[in-house]
């Protein structure tokens, strides 16, 4: 084989490639360049980790984006979906330099480093990172929290289980998921001290196949009520299939309204209103409250009181009417806030009102530092006494867990079966 040929071949290939490039670039400049014009409005870019059709996390963020986009004339939005963590810096660059965004929302934990670095790179732009804990002068953080809802779901699960085995299909063993499982188990225990919560990790946020396997394994193990953290309605569908076969298994929907996937089996669930958070952030940017200089201590951790989350498996339906009678038939004594004996249905409604009435946690700035303090709420699920799986008293009687404890939670309460490390 000749040794000179590769060089000539390379040269030819390079020339052809450059020619193709030049044609493409020329065409692009000719068609698109004149369209670049400045706008006086606010333009917000959203970076999503999943597809907007995931029926979970990303779908919910996109719903929130659409609602605020339609509400305000001064707002334009653009989004990029299915962005991997490695690609986030590039997408931020694009949104800022090519789409001329003033604000960028990065909606996955894995985008944290990229968001902080972008904040330093573009000091006059505003960034908000969802679910992280690092901030900067122009980088704020926000999160809509579900633990109150999981607790309320737990109350209902404790009342409905006949086998005293409640299953939980869990995504990743990280503090957020551990906190939600614990809140759920605390609710189960309040109504049914004999019941246990069995956890199966699937190590994925979105994986219908693994979710199905996990749900079926839990059912085979005797669980008759299931909750889950996974961005598809798979677990609900599995339960509906078992219901059709004459074996009723009940479930709680997650993140999006999943009632329609299992009207016979879906009891309640967790719903999010990201638009409430986005509305607040964008309005405050628009009226000048938030600037690229003062976000160092801006952190949203919004729950029922702020309206960022809603109890139910469909908007406006906190409890599937089909289950009202069953929940009214079980009575329980409120030992935590002393409102006497009532049905589980009434207890859910009481707790819902208690948690809506006051904020659970309040952000304060002390000596230039953000500090989360306990809010003046009448009831919070994470109130001692709480024991871990080894029987150690982790939270003393009457003591409440605060933001930092909950955000770093790496242990399960005593009625959870499974390992918190996955």
């Amino acid at each position: 084989m000749s040794e000179k040929a590769p060089k000539r071949r390379l040269l030819v290939a390079a020339i052809v490639l450059i020619a193709i490039l030049a044609i493409g670039v020329g065409y692009y400049l000719w068609v698109y360049a004149p369209a670049a014009a400045a706008a006086a409005k606010i333009k917000a870019g959203y970076i999503y980790v999943g597809p907007i059709g995931d029926y979970g996390w990303t779908h919910a963020h996109d719903q929130g984006r659409k609602i605020v986009d339609e509400k305000y004339d001064w707002l334009d939005t653009v989004y990029v979906e299915s962005v991997s963590e490695a690609d986030c810096p590039r997408i931020i660059d694009k949104l800022i330099t090519e789409e001329n965004c003033d604000v960028v929302f990065t909606t996955s934990f894995g985008f944290m480093d990229a968001t902080i670095e972008a904040g330093e790179k573009y000091p006059d732009k505003i960034f908000f990172h969802c679910s992280g804990y690092k901030r900067g002068a122009n980088v704020g953080t926000y999160f809509a929290e579900f633990y109150q809802l999981y607790y309320l779901n737990g109350l209902m699960a404790g009342a409905l289980t006949k086998t005293n085995k409640v299953g939980y299909v869990a995504a990743h063993p990280i503090p957020e998921v551990i906190r939600h499982i614990n809140a759920f188990a605390i609710g189960v225990k309040e109504v049914n001290p004999d019941a246990k919560v069995y956890v199966v990790w699937i190590h994925a946020w979105y994986d219908p196949t693994k979710a199905r396997e996990a749900a079926e394994a839990l059912i085979a193990d005797g669980c008759d009520v299931l909750a889950f953290t996974e961005d598809s309605p798979t677990v609900i569908e599995v339960c509906e299939e078992y219901y059709a076969k004459g074996q009723p298994i009940y479930a709680f929907s997650h993140y999006s309204p999943m009632y329609s996937y299992g009207p016979n089996v879906t009891v309640s669930g967790q719903l999010v209103h990201w638009e409430v958070v986005y509305d607040d952030i964008l309005t405050k940017i628009h009226d000048g409250t938030y600037t690229s200089q003062n976000l160092e201590n801006v952190d949203y951790w919004w729950m029922l009181h702020e309206g960022a989350v809603e109890l139910g498996c469909d908007f406006g339906m906190p409890i599937n009417p089909k289950f009202e009678d069953a929940l009214k038939a079980v009575t329980v004594t409120d030992t935590k806030t002393g409102h006497g004996t009532m049905s589980v249905y009434d207890l859910v409604m009481l707790r819902l009102e208690q948690m809506k009435a006051q904020p659970a946690h309040v952000a304060k700035v002390e000596n230039g530092q953000l500090v989360w303090e306990l809010g003046p709420i009448e009831f919070d699920p994470f109130t001692g006494p709480l024991y871990d799986q080894d029987g150690n008293l982790r939270v003393a009687d009457g003591v409440r867990l605060g933001h930092d404890d909950l955000w770093t939670m790496d242990w399960f309460v005593d009625n959870v079966v499974g390992s918190p490390t996955g």
Binding site: R9, L21, G24, V25, Y27, Y28, E85, A86, P173, I174
Partner: protein, 350 residues
């Protein structure tokens, strides 16, 4: 069907170009069905990857791992050894670099820790490649299966480390390691994410694989083994030596790519699919698009890097899912393989 004589030289350049063009045509047909003007979309893609400073810099960022893995795969495929495990070898390089940066020498100065990361990254990738290499040379175990499976072991190992023993002390329980000390951050071209040492290594790797293949005895042996193992045996070439050497270098180069990704981009170990968005697999296309010419792999790596980067321009401008890029990659590989076939065989009806 029979084998043709050696195809003319100009065909060797033509086949990749025609393959890319056919892939563009076929993809364009489907895009047009969806009501999307293909020419406009392609020009936007090109513009996204090559028309701006940002675009070019990110294309180079993607080119680095694609070229390192691709150069290694050229060597392997040239010797007819089917290393499908570059993805796992890359991850093992990332693991080794993390170990060096966070645990072995956390307070060492840059001039020690950076070479150490690359050295251990290469060794880790090489070892990961040597396992299937050893199985193939001693027990004749099919390397396609073993290299592919080794990927999943590497993925699980990374997951185990970030959920378990290496989970960061300062990261609020999230499954990522702590950040590397600053001494272990690879220097970047200012204002971009282009990590300079790895870029240099990537270009060197292409040149070295070229020299190895065409200017050394082992390279000659590898090529002979690749074109005809029986002939190689008669010529007294040790298949064992060829297989082990090729797998070690091929795996080691992928390991270097892993070092670059964690020390140059992320500066920590994280989810496997965040460290590598399939570079090890895309590098297979890099190698074939270059028609197993290590120097041409530089161009094909840039082309594929650009394709990765151009993909999101498509998303933003046309609201298309990122799957379009995967579809295009798949079509291109299909066209390449068919082109290769047409080049080497002719069908004769008797």
């Amino acid at each position: 069907m029979e084998k043709k004589e050696a195809p003319p030289k100009w065909m060797e350049v033509l086949v990749p170009l025609v393959s890319v063009a056919s892939a563009l045509l076929i993809a364009g047909f489907f895009l047009a069905l969806q009501g999307i003007p293909p020419l406009e979309l392609y020009s936007k893609m090109l513009a996204g990857s090559f028309a701006s400073y940002h675009g070019i810099s990110y294309t180079i960022v993607k080119t680095i791992p694609l070229l390192l893995c691709g150069a290694g795969l050229v060597l392997a495929f040239k010797a007819n050894i089917w290393n499908i495990g570059a993805e796992g070898q890359l991850l093992m390089g990332a693991v080794a670099a993390t170990w060096v940066a966070l645990y072995a020498m956390p307070s060492a100065p840059s001039y020690l820790v950076i070479p150490a990361m690359f050295a251990f990254g290469f060794i880790a990738g090489a070892l990961w490649g040597l396992v299937p290499g050893y199985l193939k040379s001693k027990l004749a175990v099919n390397e396609i299966i073993t290299t592919l499976m080794m990927n999943y072991i590497a993925i699980k190992l990374v997951e185990y480390l970030i959920y378990g023993p290496w989970r960061g002390e300062e990261e609020w329980g999230f499954p990522i390691t702590d950040k590397f000390p600053e001494a272990a951050w690879l220097p970047r071209i200012p204002g971009t994410s282009v990590h300079i040492p790895t870029l240099i290594l990537a270009l060197l790797s292409a040149a070295l694989v070229y020299l190895l293949l065409y200017k050394t005895k082992v390279g000659y042996e590898a090529r002979v083994y690749g074109s005809n193992p029986e002939a190689a045996r008669y010529a007294g070439i040790s298949s064992e030596k060829v297989i082990l050497l090729v797998m070690a270098i091929s795996g080691g180069l992928a390991g270097l790519a892993g070092v670059g990704e964690v020390a140059g981009i992320h500066r920590r170990l994280r989810y496997p699919w965040s460290i590598s968005c399939g570079y090890g697999f895309a590098a297979i296309i890099v190698a074939f698009l270059a028609r197993l010419n290590p120097l041409a792999a530089i161009i094909s790596a840039i082309f594929l890097g650009g394709l990765f980067v151009g993909g999101d321009a498509v998303q933003m401008a046309f609201g298309l899912p990122v799957g379009v890029v995967n579809m295009f990659n798949g079509l291109m590989l299909l066209c390449l393989v068919s082109g290769e076939f047409a080049l080497k065989y002719r069908v004769r009806v008797k």
